[in-house]
């Protein structure tokens, strides 16, 4: 396939993915908006007013970047895992496998779809947050870069989950028992400085901590971790996962006999 044909194929998958999550918007766009609005009301307004300041900001301001990142992570992951597994389950993956599209195009298309949903939900949550607090990013480009990279990383994670999944249970186990605890314990609602030395050390093993804090640094200018080391780690892990996904696709793991 020529480069132009590969580009058309990539756009075809991306458009199909966007059309899919827009078509089922009550399942994809609405729930995170409602959940996050509840977080803003309950944790930000009702409980937050009693918590006081964290890291020099009101509690509401402090948790907003983490909540935006949480919705981006969950939706990027959720989009790819459900879409790719659905494609496998219905055997419509065969439509792609018989075509001359390269594994790179297939992977990029699904990841771009995950990023599109992650960013769309992130944008919705950001707009909702503006009703509760003021948001003026301190480092706009860093903010955009880290949200994009995180979205790519979790789209890839969703892809790996879908590749190995054999049933619908398999695609809900990781989000429920791994992704949700990692996100909730990833410094979304608190600063690592509030933890004891031991739990701070344990928290630093959680990759979500680095993403949330780098994003928070982009918006508020404060972070519990070194943002440049975080950024380097995110880029490295993302590149590693991309190569791993490509290898899985080329070998046909989970999709070819």
């Amino acid at each position: 396939m020529s480069l132009q044909e590969q580009w058309v194929a990539f756009l075809t998958i991306l458009t199909k993915e966007i059309r899919r999550f827009l078509r089922i918007w009550p399942q994809t766009l609405l729930p995170p908006a409602i959940t996050m609005a509840l977080y803003f009301v309950i944790f930000g307004n009702l409980i937050g007013s009693r918590v006081g300041e964290v890291g020099g900001f009101d509690y509401m301001q402090y948790i907003v970047p983490g909540l935006i990142m949480m919705s981006v992570i969950q939706n990027s992951y959720g989009n790819v895992v459900s879409s790719f597994f659905g494609t496998k389950f219905q055997h419509s993956i065969e439509e792609m496998l018989v075509s001359p599209m390269s594994s790179l195009v297939i992977l990029s298309g699904f990841v771009a779809g995950g990023v599109a949903r992650g960013l769309a939900v992130g944008a919705i949550v950001t707009c909702l947050a503006l009703f509760f607090t003021d948001l003026r990013p301190e480092h706009l480009w860093l903010t955009l870069l880290v949200v994009l990279l995180t979205s790519v990383l979790f789209s890839l994670a969703g892809f790996i989950n879908a590749i190995f999944a054999n049933s619908f249970d398999d695609i809900s186990i990781i989000p429920t028992f791994v992704l949700t605890p990692l996100t909730y314990l990833g410094g979304v609602f608190y600063s690592l400085d509030q933890l004891s030395e031991f739990w701070r050390g344990v928290s630093l093993l959680n990759p979500v901590v680095y993403m949330v804090n780098t994003f928070r640094y982009g918006i508020l200018g404060v972070s519990d971790v070194n943002v440049w080391i975080s950024l380097g780690a995110i880029v490295t892990i993302t590149a590693g996962m991309f190569c791993f996904c490509l290898w899985l696709l080329q070998r046909g793991v989970g999709i070819r006999h």
Partner: protein
């Protein structure tokens, strides 16, 4: 020119099942080729490997001279596949399924829309283009898969049981459509359980059984191999026992019906003469099975594990 060349192809699944054992096969450009075999013989595995859905354990496949291993993109562009099972998103619209497939082949949207319209109209699905695929009947879904396989104008069309579960009228119209496509120069390979379908459509045929090719020849030569043909005779008057006819094996199916096996070396006239001598009149006559079916059963029976080891 060879449209499809398969060389020393073997496949052993992870379960240990050896689906293909060193098969080689050539299909020439413009041919209408049938790949026949009983269930589990290896037909779908062969098609799966050619269409890149199954990884071969060993062997090489080339499509119009392009290796499926080394020039995968070029080879795949030339193939259109109609699988046995429905493999599209049932919730997508008919038109979207076909246009999206064109996109997977790098065809820009404007041209993809034209191509989709062309084949949806030809296959009588244009009126259904905005319906969800799950709302289509079984026959329509099969036609949708044919339209989808043709949207990028492949040179080689592979159909795995294309008329399974399709009513007779629709089956005939699909035969006409496939014949028309073949007339336009497209090479067609089909697997089918309807041997009548293979006999009336295909000029060449391969029979696969237990993962090996047991016959690979043109239809005429194959049918000439049929040594015995069985006829059903409907009698004017009932008989109590099967008459003894010299040179023929006769079986009484019921008092008014005889089954007569006629060797190729014997004239059919002799049957009637001998029956007349027994004072038996025949009202009508028909083949027990079509000729290809009879030959197929003999070839496949010959390869049954029990018989092979006997």
């Amino acid at each position: 020119m060879t449209a499809l060349s398969i060389r020393h192809l073997s496949k052993t699944y992870a379960s240990g099942v050896q689906a293909l054992r060193d098969i080689s096969l050539d299909v020439e450009k413009g041919e209408f080729f049938a790949l026949l075999g009983p269930n589990g013989a290896g037909k779908s595995t062969t098609i799966g490997i050619v269409s890149s859905l199954v990884n071969a354990t060993q062997g090489e496949v080339t499509v119009f001279g392009h290796s499926l291993e080394r020039e995968r993109g070029l080879a795949k562009k030339l193939i259109g596949v109609v699988p046995q099972e429905f493999n599209f998103n049932q919730f997508e619209k008919v038109g979207d399924i076909v246009v999206t497939q064109a996109g997977f082949y790098g065809i820009p949207r404007a041209r993809a829309l034209q191509q989709a319209e062309k084949y949806l109209r030809k296959l009588g699905l244009w009126e259904k283009r905005n319906s969800q695929a799950r709302q289509l009947s079984g026959g329509m879904k099969r036609r949708l898969m044919i339209a989808r396989a043709l949207v990028h104008e492949p040179e080689l069309l592979i159909l795995d049981e294309p008329t399974a579960g399709v009513d007779i009228e629709l089956r005939r119209s699909m035969w006409d459509f496939l014949t028309e496509l073949n007339g336009q120069g497209k090479t067609i390979i089909l697997t089918t359980h309807y041997l009548e379908e293979a006999e009336s459509l295909c000029r060449r045929i391969a029979i696969i059984d237990h993962g090996t090719i047991v016959e690979n020849t043109d239809m005429k030569s194959l049918l000439e191999k049929l040594q015995v043909e069985t006829f059903i005779l409907d009698l004017a008057q009932p008989v109590s026992a099967a008459p003894v006819l010299n040179g023929f094996e006769v079986r009484l199916r019921d008092p008014r019906t005889l089954e007569v096996a006629v060797p190729k070396s014997e004239a059919l006239n002799s049957v009637f003469q001998q029956l007349a001598a027994h004072d038996i009149s025949v009202m009508s006559m028909r083949n027990k099975a079509n000729r290809l079916e009879e030959l197929f059963l003999r070839l496949v029976e010959r390869n049954l594990p029990g018989e092979a080891s006997a």
